[in-house]
């Protein structure tokens, strides 16, 4: 099989490439150049020196596979960065890595496979993708602590049938062990936790630079609607946030809601964060059948799933949940099997 491996420069995708090669496939490594920094007269030529791409390039050379850097900056800026900015500007909590999977890797890149003369796309995600009776099934990675099936929950049969996830069956330790045994220079590379286009900066300073209009001052009110202070823009806040509210009132206060139309930030007590049910949009199903009924729902990349019932785009939690905010992705499971996913549009808070 001819396989295009998306190599980020991390250890997981390095080993994914190594495994495909070891299995006898014809492997081509690519790194996606996604971001070139702001336009203008910064030293633009320097921005395309990606140190991560250099790591991937060296790994590809060690594995003796052809390697290319592909330019997806335009797709990334339109599909991920602009959306990230717009979501924060409207008081939502986006996950840009999921958007990148959805719009760049498993859409634009996957659709280019034929052009690159490859049959499958390979990534280093910790999730399992197995064919059962002609149906592709997406499952949690064997290493539960590293499981990344949540960020792939939007994939359907069309994508999964052309995707391979070779490290999904392995523990992270085993991945590193293989990398060391092959002398790959990414073997001991720490995991990146940054949003790639924000880097080590605070994402708020990134937003301030890219959406200054989202920093319109507005009122801060309590759950009864009484104004308790002001803020310098809703983009600086996210539901569930406790720090930096600038109010000092005995019991800890949290952002419980953001109302973009009036630039209002609503703060409340911890119990005010509780959400009974959410409205889901962009609902997708791995098997392509409508999802309904009992599911285990996971709304954070590394959270535990919670019991819930899905019906007509509404998800009711068995127990009220505190960490839920509009814009978040929610994935549905049955055991280790991913059923599908969606994006939280609105939340219904419990009456207190």
């Amino acid at each position: 099989m001819r396989a295009l491996v998306a190599m980020s420069g991390g250890v997981d995708s390095s080993v994914a490439a190594a495994i495909m090669k070891e299995q006898g496939h014809q492997v081509v490594g690519v790194t996606l150049k996604l971001w070139s920094g702001p336009n203008g007269e910064a030293p633009t030529a320097g921005c395309c020196t990606l140190s991560d791409a250099e790591d991937a390039r060296r790994v590809a050379a060690t594995l003796d596979i052809p390697y290319y850097v592909l330019d997806y900056t335009e797709e990334f800026e339109g599909g991920v960065v602009d959306r990230f900015v717009a979501e924060y500007a409207t008081g939502r909590t986006p996950n840009p890595c999921i958007e990148c999977n959805r719009t760049v890797k498993f859409d634009r890149l996957l659709r280019s496979l034929d052009g690159f003369d490859c049959e499958v796309l390979v990534t280093g995600h910790h999730a399992r993708n197995v064919e059962v009776d002609g149906n592709w099934r997406l499952m949690r990675g064997t290493d539960r602590a590293k499981d990344q099936s949540y960020v792939l929950s939007m994939l359907g049969q069309a994508e999964l049938s052309r995707t391979r996830l070779p490290v999904g069956e392995m523990t992270k330790d085993a991945v590193r062990e293989i990398a060391r045994s092959l002398d790959l220079r990414t073997a001991n590379k720490p995991e990146s936790m940054d949003i790639c286009f924000v880097g080590q900066r605070d994402y708020r300073s990134f937003l301030r630079g890219h959406a200054p209009e989202a920093f319109t001052p507005g009122p801060m009110v309590d759950t009864a609607g009484v104004e308790v202070g002001s803020h310098d823009g809703i983009a600086g806040f996210t539901v569930g946030q406790r720090r930096g509210l600038g109010v000092a009132v005995g019991e800890p206060r949290y952002v419980v809601e953001i109302q973009p139309s009036t630039s209002t930030v609503v703060i409340g007590r911890r119990r005010d964060l509780r959400v009974d049910s959410v409205e889901i949009v962009d609902l997708t199903s791995v098997e392509g059948v409508p999802l309904r009924g009992r599911v285990a729902a996971q709304y954070r990349a590394h959270g535990d799933p919670v019991g819930a019932t899905l019906s007509d785009g509404m998800l009711s939690f068995d127990e009220p949940q505190e960490g839920v905010a509009p814009g978040q992705t929610i994935a549905f499971y049955e055991g280790d099997v991913v059923l599908g996913g969606g994006i939280i549009a609105t939340t219904d808070r419990s009456p207190v």
Binding site: K33, C48, T49
Partner: protein, 375 residues
């Protein structure tokens, strides 16, 4: 592998390595010393300088050895701007190489007046536009002889004389890195000329800046005062010798190059245009070098085509690439009026001294087949 990326770099011409050899192994002297070992190295360096001066019709001391085209461009522009207290501005063209453009942006950030003059649809800059951009602030004008992506040739002698006629005190620099293989690079009206060894059959890491006698430049590299204070740092003697040999060989081969390489390129171009629906040669209306072909293949993104060409054994380029190797939207093609989408459909094929007619015809066949598959 059929190598059609000579505008990126060239293989060394036969004989170059042999001339360099003694200065890589054996003759290791530092030319700045007082002893016999140094003297031999110094003699080799100065002999290379004399040979190069003879090729360019210059005086030996007008040749400043550098590490390559980028350094030469930096020295020319920063050197001229920083040296002149009364005039400290720069006028250049939107289609220049990044070594010039990024230097221009740097100087602008430092507060210097910088103008970028546009080009027409064929990539040509007009003398009127160039002269009109000059102000009483302008210290130096820089126009490349042959464009690195399209091969479009500027008549730099005409442009320089137009500039000098009205502004005799303004310096004129040309980056002739892409032109030397096929064009007579003459000092004439030029105050400064950048050349790189590895684009003309010489070694990487060698380059020079021709600096007209009497012209003072503020150095970019400060230090021990080598190259008459214009470029400090112990010289790359093997590189200088190799570049001298390569330049002599290139000049001796120029007539053949103009005929033979042009014929190979033209044949390739004809086959590509005949075999690919809607294919366009960017810069076709302009006078081009015989070695460049900037080809737009509508409907095929260049990063896909380049990967497929590579896998099929043809080395080509997007013309405009960043350090990582990712194709980027060419500022040259955008300046010529192409949309970003059209620029992303463009591939550069560049032929060289070692290209054969079979290289051209085989590669054209592979290209036409691949495009047929991709469309």
């Amino acid at each position: 592998m059929i190598y059609l990326d000579h505008a990126a770099t060239t293989p060394m011409r036969p004989g170059v390595l042999e001339d360099m050899g003694p200065f890589l192994v054996g003759e290791f002297g530092n030319p700045s010393g007082v002893h016999e070992v140094s003297r031999r190295a110094k003699n080799a360096l100065e002999e290379a300088r004399e040979r190069i001066a003879a090729v360019l019709g210059a005086r030996p001391m007008e040749i400043v050895f550098t590490s390559g085209g980028t350094e030469s461009d930096n020295l020319a522009l920063k050197g001229a701007v920083y040296n002149n207290t009364a005039r400290s501005g720069l006028v250049t063209v939107a289609t220049e190489h990044d070594a010039v453009l990024e230097t221009a942006y740097f100087l602008r950030r430092q507060g210097h007046e910088v103008s970028l003059v546009g080009v027409d649809g064929s990539g040509m800059v007009s003398p009127e536009d160039l002269v009109a951009a000059i102000t009483e602030q302008t210290a130096v004008v820089s126009v490349m002889t042959a464009n690195s992506e399209t091969g479009v040739l500027a008549d730099v002698a005409q442009l320089a004389s137009a500039v000098k006629e009205q502004h005799p005190q303004v310096l004129f620099h040309t980056d002739a890195v892409q032109a030397f293989n096929s064009e007579d690079v003459a000092t004439g009206h030029m105050d400064m000329i950048s050349l790189a060894g590895h684009k003309l059959g010489g070694p990487k890491g060698s380059g020079l800046l021709y600096v007209r006698e009497g012209l003072h430049l503020e150095p970019v590299l400060h230090g021990g005062g080598h190259e008459l204070g214009r470029r400090s740092g112990t010289q790359n003697i093997a590189g200088a010798v190799g570049m001298a040999t390569a330049m002599e060989l290139a000049v001796a081969d120029r007539e053949r190059f103009r005929m033979v390489v042009a014929a190979i390129r033209d044949d390739f171009e004809k086959r590509a245009l005949a075999g690919i629906d809607g294919a366009v040669v960017n810069g076709e209306e302009a006078v081009r070098t015989p070695q460049h072909l900037n080809l737009r293949v509508p409907g095929v993104r260049n990063q896909v085509l380049l990967m497929r060409l590579d896998q099929a054994g043809v080395a080509a380029s997007a013309g405009s690439a960043c350090q990582s190797g990712a194709a980027k939207v060419s500022h040259v093609l955008e300046s010529m009026g192409l949309t970003p989408e059209q620029a992303r459909e463009t591939v550069r094929f560049s032929f060289g001294w070692d290209s054969t007619p079979e290289d051209g015809s085989t590669a054209a066949e592979i290209l036409v087949d691949l495009v047929g598959e991709l469309l």
